[in-house]
């Protein structure tokens, strides 16, 4: 932890949360902010893609079932437009399985989280690791 404090970029990853359920997105944002993440939230694809254009996010946490464009479509689209962003899926559907397209852009089951999580720390930790990975590239 003390090592990470030396690098402000690593210490405060910039994260976008896309979820139409504000109870979920805001509490997750609050949790991450308490850990010094820079967090923005969006409730649909349109807002999300706007924010991605305006801010430089390290990573995005995406709900799947959204009004309008679905979460996995957002990921595929955003990956083309903003290839540096890493994605996590955070869904209430326990039957979710990664599509081949998502696997092709490097997503694995480690990047999938099923709601509800009993401890959000696991998302925070994964986001930290993704940011490390991103910086090392």
């Amino acid at each position: 932890m003390s090592e990470k404090e030396e690098s402000p970029v690593q210490k405060f990853p910039h994260v976008l949360i896309v979820d139409d359920d504000k109870g979920v997105s805001r509490s997750l944002a609050a949790f991450l902010e308490d850990r010094d993440f820079e967090v923005k939230t969006a409730e649909n694809a349109e807002i999300a893609l706007h924010l991605m254009k305006d801010f430089r996010f390290h990573a995005a946490v995406i709900d799947l079932r959204l009004p309008g464009m679905s979460g996995d479509m957002i990921i595929l689209k955003a990956h083309v437009l903003f290839p540096h962003i890493r994605f996590l899926v955070y869904t209430g559907s326990s039957a979710f399985q990664l599509s081949e397209e998502l696997q092709q852009i490097g997503m694995t089951s480690e990047h999938v989280f099923i709601k509800p999580l009993s401890d959000l720390s696991i998302i925070a930790d994964t986001l930290f690791n993704l940011a490390d990975h991103y910086e090392s590239i």
Partner: protein, 658 residues
């Protein structure tokens, strides 16, 4: 020789000669036969003795007076013969005797035997005929009768359809025509003088030598014990035929012989064999039916009781046959009036899903009664099918469908419930975090508000805020786990078949049970000693890993609950995974309370549970059974001894059932 006619004047002889002549005359006069002398060629009787009165019905005087009478008394059918004889006679040709018929004066026809002596002069010219005429009518009749008799018996003998022959202890002495025919011979000499065993194959079907056996049977018959037996004969060309032989002793020509009757029973034998074959075939068909099949006649007497009926009723066919259905059929099943109805109305009767309790086990049966009426033999056939298994499968299917629909519902609801649950749990986690004195932001915010984070913490503890937060977390987790469990029912559509390593599936399941927090409150799975006996090199099995884990989980959970509830000392599971031909056998054995036979038999039934109400759905093992037997085409068995423990045995085909 000089006989004198009565009317002739004979010179007086000397006295001695006179005496002698009187004696002769007396002899002639008293003879029963006619003695005569006829002069030739005039055909006049010089002498004819008085017996003519008896034999011809004419006195000698009548014949002397009209010699032609003699030609009138000759039977018309002999007249031609005598005309010819007369001509020959005049030429000096005469047979030693005649045998012919005459008509007595009374009209009676008589047979006559006449001996002739021709008297000739020195020039060899016939001058007279002398002879004796006898009445042989009685003898002739006796002869005729005898001839007729012989003919009659011969016809009887030869026209018989069976072989008739006479044998001594080793040879044919006499045989009828049928014997020739049956043995394929053309000449009596092919048979007479031969041995009976020459017309037999070397061995009889009972493997006895034909010769020895035949001799023994003939001996016995000749000793006076009539024999009747089955015999294989052979014809002259060597082909065989089945025969029925009877031997009887007869007494003939001063010795005991055997008279034999041989009947060709080939066609009877074939018919018998065909009937036997048909009966066996029908028996086989009826016996191999998986249904109980019982035949009754119109009076309700049993005439058919197949193997399944034996199994179903525990009554042997021999014990049932001929008995009244009412006396023998298990009382709980009321079929008597149905049988009656079927016969009376000539309509099949059917009862479905009839519960039938034997001991304390209830089974379900379908009863169908078909009336029979072919060539006047009335009756009925009762067919009973045990449909318990079908019903069980049907129920499992229904349950499985129910569960699938629960699953579908759960899957749809999960997302909707999981989102608010996530909101609850996430927010409460943030609240908990924001009451913590470990976070700098909290400290700063507290100071800004004119207090300290320590005061807020102190306050929260005082007012029970933290335990309330914990209660919310706990409730949220519980709700999450309910949703998760419901989703377990819906896995099917996403299940993928893969080659899985059974031992590692088992290990994962054990790990899962050990950490099952909802059970932790009642017992600690880690108290139970788990002994793993895994054979090495277990081939991976084509299966759906989730389903197999679900099955293992079910057995382990059930077993653990029983073990803990009954406070089994030194609780243990012995888990064996072994190779079998083309299969992997998994045994999960516990040393818990076990179960009795009734529970053991029903343990896979849906909604059968020994747990108190609300503690178990009674579905776990039936779903497991379904998963193993239907989805994976494996087998699932349970062995148990009350008080000793329970062993579940699962066999999974390596190549899977899909």
């Amino acid at each position: 020789m000089n006989y004198s006619g009565k009317n002739k004047s004979i010179p007086s002889p000397p006295v001695e000669f006179k005496k002698s002549e009187d004696r002769f005359r007396l002899l002639l006069e008293n003879s029963k036969d006619i003695i005569y002398r006829m002069s030739l060629p005039d055909g006049k009787y010089e002498y004819i003795s008085p017996a003519s009165t008896n034999i011809f019905g004419y006195t000698p005087d009548e014949l002397y007076a009209t010699p032609r009478v003699i030609s009138q008394i000759i039977h018309p059918s002999w007249k031609k013969y005598f005309e010819l004889q007369w001509e020959n006679l005049l030429k000096g040709i005469i047979p030693h005797s005649y045998e012919y018929q005459v008509i007595h004066k009374s009209g009676e026809i008589k047979w006559i035997y006449q001996e002739n002596t021709l008297i000739c002069d020195k020039k060899n010219k016939p001058t007279a005929i002398e002879g004796i005429i006898m009445d042989i009518t009685d003898r002739k009749k006796a002869e005729e009768d005898l001839r007729e008799n012989v003919e009659k018996y011969h016809t009887l003998f030869d026209s018989a359809n069976d072989c008739l022959f006479i044998v001594d202890d080793k040879k044919f002495l006499e045989c009828n025509y049928m014997t020739l025919e049956m043995f394929g011979c053309k000449d009596y000499n092919d048979i007479i003088g031969h041995h009976p065993w020459e017309f037999s194959p070397p061995f009889q079907p009972d493997h006895q030598l034909s010769e020895e056996k035949a001799k023994r049977l003939l001996d016995a018959a000749i000793k006076g014990e009539p024999q009747r037996f089955y015999w294989v004969h052979s014809r002259k060309d060597g082909t065989c035929f089945d025969a029925e032989v009877s031997l009887n002793r007869i007494y003939l020509q001063d010795r005991y012989l055997a008279q034999a009757i041989v009947r060709d029973i080939t066609s009877r034998k074939q018919a018998e064999e065909e009937a036997n074959r048909l009966r066996h075939l029908l028996d086989n068909i009826v016996n191999s039916m998986p249904s109980v099949i019982i035949g009754v006649d119109s009076t309700g007497r049993i005439n058919q009781w197949n193997r399944e009926a034996e199994r179903f009723t525990s009554i042997k066919s021999e014990d049932a046959s001929g008995k009244k259905l009412a006396d023998i059929f298990p009382k709980p099943i009321d079929i008597l009036h149905k049988v009656k109805k079927a016969i009376e109305e000539s309509k099949p009767q059917k009862d479905v899903k009839v519960p039938y309790t034997s001991g304390n086990i209830t089974r379900y049966i379908d009863i169908t009664i078909y009336p029979l009426h072919s060539d006047g033999t009335e009756g009925a056939v009762i067919r009973i099918d045990d449909i318990t298994e079908c019903l069980r499968i049907e129920e499992i299917m229904i349950q499985s469908e129910k569960m699938l629909s629960i699953g579908g519902l759960a899957a749809g609801m999960a997302h909707e419930i999981n989102n608010p649950l996530a909101a609850i749990l996430q927010n409460i986690q943030v609240i908990r975090n924001r009451l913590s004195n470990q976070i700098e932001k909290n400290r700063t915010a507290a100071l800004t508000c004119g207090t300290t984070i320590e005061s807020i913490e102190h306050y929260s503890i005082q007012r029970g805020i933290f335990s309330m937060i914990d209660a919310v977390i706990e409730a949220g987790h519980r709700a999450a786990s309910i949703v998760e469990n419901m989703l377990n029912f819906s896995r099917k559509s996403n299940d993928r078949l893969a080659f899985n390593d059974i031992p590692s599936l088992m290990d994962k399941t054990i790990a899962l049970v050990s950490s099952d927090y909802s059970l932790k409150k009642k017992y600690d799975f880690r108290q139970i000693d788990i002994q793993r006996h895994y054979e090495t090199d277990i081939t991976p099995v084509l299966c759906v890993s989730d389903q197999i884990q679900q099955v293992f989980l079910n057995i382990l959970k059930n077993g653990a609950q029983e073990i803990i509830e009954h406070h089994t000392p030194q609780p243990a599971f012995i888990i064996r995974i072994e190779k079998e031909l083309g299969k992997i056998r998994v045994e999960i054995e516990d040393n818990g309370p076990g179960m009795d036979e009734n529970v053991r038999k029903r343990v896979f039934e849906p909604f059968f549970t020994t747990k108190e109400v609300g503690k178990g759905t009674g579905l776990g093992l039936s779903v497991s059974y379904y998963i193993i037997t239907e989805n994976h085409k494996g087998t699932f068995e349970v062995e148990s001894i009350k008080g000793k423990g329970t062993k579940f045995i699962i066999r999974l085909p390596i190549k899977g059932g899909h």
